[in-house]
Symmetry: C2
C-alpha cells in the first residue's frame, strides 16, 4: 500500500487561461514578481501495490483514465503521511 500524489498540467505549449487570469490578477492584489503561472489538477490516492507493480498500475491509471494525454502531462510520486496536502495542521490546545 502506498499513498500516491499525481500532478497534472496542460502541455507547456498550450494556453492555460486559468493560469493566465491568475497571473494577471496577482499584481493588483499586492503580489508582484510572479510569472509563468500554470494551473492543473492534484490527486492523492492509496494504491494497494508496491514496487514495479505499483509503478505499472499508476502509469496505466494516469495514461488511461486520470489524464488526457492529448493535451496534458503528469508527474507522480510516492508521498508520506506528513506530505499529504490535506495533512492536519499541528495545533497546541491547552487543557
Amino acid at each position: 500500500m502506498a499513498r500516491i500524489a499525481i500532478d497534472v498540467l496542460l502541455k507547456r505549449e498550450l494556453l492555460d487561461p486559468q493560469g493566465r487570469a491568475t497571473e494577471r490578477a496577482l499584481p493588483d492584489l499586492g503580489f508582484a514578481g510572479v510569472s509563468d503561472v500554470r494551473i492543473g489538477k492534484h490527486l492523492e490516492l492509496d494504491v494497494d501495490a508496491d514496487g514495479e507493480e505499483l509503478a505499472a498500475r499508476v502509469e496505466a491509471m494516469c495514461a488511461g483514465f486520470l489524464t488526457n494525454p492529448v493535451v496534458e502531462t503528469y508527474r507522480w510520486r510516492v508521498i508520506a503521511e506528513h506530505e499529504r496536502a490535506d495533512a492536519p495542521v499541528t495545533t497546541t490546545v491547552d487543557a
Copy 2:
C-alpha cells in the same frame, strides 16, 4: 527566482465528490485496489524572490488568494526544472 509547486486539497474531514466519483469508477475500468481518492488543484509558478522572503510571499499568496482556507489546505515546495509536471518528455529522434 524560484519555481514553486503548490498542491491544494479540500480539508480531509470534508466530502470530496470528485474524488469519490473517481474512486467508484476505477474498479469498472480495471483499476482495483485504489482508495481514499482526493482531487484538488496543482499550481506551478515562478516567484522573483529567495529564502525567507520567498516563503513569506508564497504563504501570503496561498492564504490570501490562491486557496480558500475555510475549506482547503495546501502544501508548497520549490521544484527544479525537471520536476515540473509539464516537463517535456525526453525523446530520441533519429537523424
